[in-house]
């Protein structure tokens, strides 16, 4: 369809354009660098990397939560026990201060809900050696 003249002109056009169509140095390398990370498996590798990282973070978070819960639970029970012990101790001290008789001591402590085992322990740990057995 093109006449020989047209073809010759098209060639001239190509030559002229080619003369001004030098490629900037490093173009392909820069294009490669910018695009290679988007290749399918490179992205999958990236996603696996982030998933692993996410899994580690999630596992660490769960561990912290579980650890925190256990610690909180233990602290809470210790506090409860400590409150009970403190109360028993206060009762024992109060009883020993207000009464010199074992009956009053045991009666008062029992009235506050302390068990005999508690009382035995408290008495042994507080009263001087020999007195607890009276």
């Amino acid at each position: 369809m093109d006449t020989p003249e047209d073809i010759q002109f098209a060639n001239t056009l190509r030559v002229l354009n080619a003369s001004a169509s030098s490629i900037p140095p490093g173009l392909s390398a820069r294009v490669f660098q910018a695009s290679v990370v988007h290749l399918p498996n490179q992205e999958i590798a990236g996603r696996i990397g982030s998933r692993t990282s996410f899994q580690w973070k999630a596992a660490a978070a769960i561990l912290i939560l579980v650890g925190g819960s256990i610690l909180a639970w233990q602290t809470s029970s210790a506090r409860d026990r400590s409150t009970c012990d403190d109360r028993s101790l206060a009762l024992v001290l109060e009883a020993s201060a207000s009464s010199s008789g074992d009956e009053n001591f045991i009666g008062l402590a029992s009235a506050q809900g302390a068990g005999f085992d508690d009382l035995d322990f408290e008495m042994r740990s507080i009263l001087p050696a020999g007195q607890a057995g009276r």
Partner: protein, 188 residues
């Protein structure tokens, strides 16, 4: 332009690149990026912008490569992406562009001015003539002579019947030749 060897080349390296083979991807980039860049630079007349769009085109290709089935249409595909990117960019720039005095433009584009003065007279005439062509004619000329595409590929790419495309190209070349002659005659 593309013969069976080229298609085989595309098929092999694209398949490998689609599996994440960076070496194969480098071969694809080295083969195609100069053509895409030349086509874009011819349109934008701006080397940096042409490179920016070229990078964007190859990022898109890399992302979509896994879903691409090579059937000898890679050339059309890559040029279609390049054309779409170019149009988007031109539209965006037109939206943000402000009318400027040509002297100011000359001041802020010393590289272009230097290139223009260094270029042969015919090249300047050619650029001026290209600027006067309708968009579609210029696109056909650029795809054929800068992008190095076959008429068949251009026909697929632009969704034009082959006969129409050849006729357009013929008319565009004639128009270009007349414009260049006029320009050279004026400047002589």
């Amino acid at each position: 332009m593309q013969d069976s060897d080229d298609e085989e080349f595309d098929r092999e390296f694209l398949a490998r690149a689609a599996k994440g083979d960076a070496v194969a991807w480098r071969v694809v980039v080295e083969y195609w990026s100069p053509r895409i860049f030349r086509y874009l630079r011819s349109n934008t007349r701006n080397e940096e912008l042409a490179e920016e769009i070229t990078q964007s085109v190859f990022c898109t290709i890399a992302r979509k490569l896994a879903d691409y089935v090579e059937q000898g249409h890679f050339e059309s595909w890559i040029f279609r992406i390049a054309i779409n990117r170019l149009r988007d960019e031109m539209r965006r720039r037109k939206l943000h562009a402000r009318p400027m005095d040509s002297d100011i433009m000359a001041d802020i584009a010393p590289q272009k001015v230097a290139e223009e003065t260094a270029a042969p007279e015919e090249l300047r005439a050619l650029r001026d003539a290209m600027d006067q062509l309708p968009d579609l004619d210029r696109e056909i000329i650029d795809l054929r002579h800068q992008g190095g595409m076959t008429f068949q590929q251009i026909a697929v790419l632009l969704a034009e019947p082959m006969g129409t495309l050849l006729a357009r190209h013929h008319r565009a070349i004639r128009k270009l030749r007349d414009l260049m002659r006029r320009h050279m005659g004026d400047s002589a």
